[in-house]
């Protein structure tokens, strides 16, 4: 893997005595050499991690609910706690009674995103899958297709476009402006920001951890800089702890916004 930490280790770059410049982590920390290639298709580490996450989520919920019992076993209990968290805190609160049939969708999204984010701090994996832009884009596209489909299904074709673009009760001169703004907001920026939010959070978080880890190694010399190295190490640990919080929060927010968009598509004209 061509992560900056390994290139740093290989170069043996320290602040003293060579005084080589700090090899700041950049975009190259997010590009991996393919594990194997089939023709022009390259199988890389993020793909492997995403596959593992998918297998874990599917496998966990399949084994937990394979033979559901009235008095749940341990695994089923954990699965039910996870399912109920989404059902009560997100689907029921945001969408209401109609939200019950979207709980499986939202649960899968939440746990898949969360697990992909958690990969950032698992030893050996240590890469948030969502910091490659394609993964959040695919998930946001899924949400976009869902709520656009529901909009047109609930309101019909013309009604659907009205629902997406028109706010009732506005003064006449404002209408053309609001139509354009609402269209941009509902159809274009919504999925874009949904994807960017997850991507940029994971990207920045990973960059911070790599940055402090690299600085720890760079400053680690038998001199006064060892103190700074220690401080950097403490910050790297602190950032990792902070990332745990952010990872959960981003998965929660992604699911919350997905359910909000779905509820917006389902509600009667505003």
């Amino acid at each position: 893997m061509s992560s900056p930490s390994t290139t740093l280790l290989a170069s043996g770059c320290h602040i003293t005595p060579s005084g080589c410049g700090f090899p700041a982590p950049g975009l190259d920390s997010f590009n991996f050499k393919p594990i194997f290639s089939i023709g022009s298709f390259h199988f890389t580490k993020p793909m492997l991690l995403a596959l593992i996450c998918m297998v874990l989520v599917v496998g966990f919920f399949w084994t937990a609910f394979r033979k559901p019992k009235l008095v749940p076993g341990k695994l089923q209990l954990v699965g039910e706690i996870g399912y109920n968290f989404i059902a009560r805190n997100i689907a029921r609160e945001v969408i209401g009674k109609k939200g019950d049939k979207f709980v499986p969708f939202l649960t899968s999204i939440f746990f898949f995103v969360w697990l992909m984010n958690i990969m950032s701090i698992i030893p050996l994996a240590q890469f948030p899958v969502a910091s490659r832009f394609a993964y959040p884009v695919a998930l946001a596209a899924l949400v976009w297709i869902t709520y656009m489909y529901l909009t047109f299904k609930t309101h019909g074709f013309v009604g659907g476009w009205k629902h997406l673009t028109i706010i009732e009760g506005l003064p006449k001169p404002l209408v053309p402006l609001i139509v354009v703004l609402e269209f941009l907001q509902n159809v274009i920026t919504r999925p874009f920001t949904l994807a960017v939010r997850l991507w940029a959070n994971m990207f920045a978080g990973h960059m911070l951890i790599v940055m402090f880890s690299a600085a720890t190694w760079y400053l680690l010399t038998p001199s006064v800089y060892a103190l700074f190295s220690g401080g950097s190490f403490v910050l790297a640990i602190g950032m990792t702890a902070f990332e745990v919080l952010i990872q959960f929060l981003q998965a929660y927010i992604f699911t919350l916004l997905a359910s909000l968009y779905i509820s917006g598509a389902l509600e009667e004209g505003h």
């Binding site: 805190n89 609160e93 945001v94 920001t193 960017v196 939010r197 940029a200 959070n201 990207f203 920045a204 929060l249 929660y252 927010i253 919350l256 916004l257 909000l260």
Partner: protein, 83 residues
């Protein structure tokens, strides 16, 4: 364009470096204030009405997400415009 701007700024002030970092600092001011307001008012609301905590917390995270995305767009912009 941005390279010329950096050169211009460097020539005018004698400062070297990437102007993008300054731009992102400026871009983060607004969302910083916004996120502070969101959390501040939510905590105030929770203190006044602890029984409404779940719904306040949910809306707090919603407001937080909508503010935060502005700062994150600032992070994204350099990648778009240097390509």
């Amino acid at each position: 364009m941005s390279a010329q701007l950096v050169d211009l700024a460097a020539a005018a002030t004698g400062v070297k470096g990437n102007l993008g970092a300054v731009a992102y600092g400026l871009a983060a001011i607004g969302p910083g204030v916004g996120i502070g307001l969101v959390f501040g008012h939510s905590i105030e609301a929770m203190a006044r009405q602890p029984e409404a905590m779940p719904i306040i917390r949910q809306n707090m995270f919603l407001g937080f997400a909508l503010c935060e995305v502005l700062a994150l767009l600032g992070l994204v912009v350099p990648f778009i415009f240097t390509a």
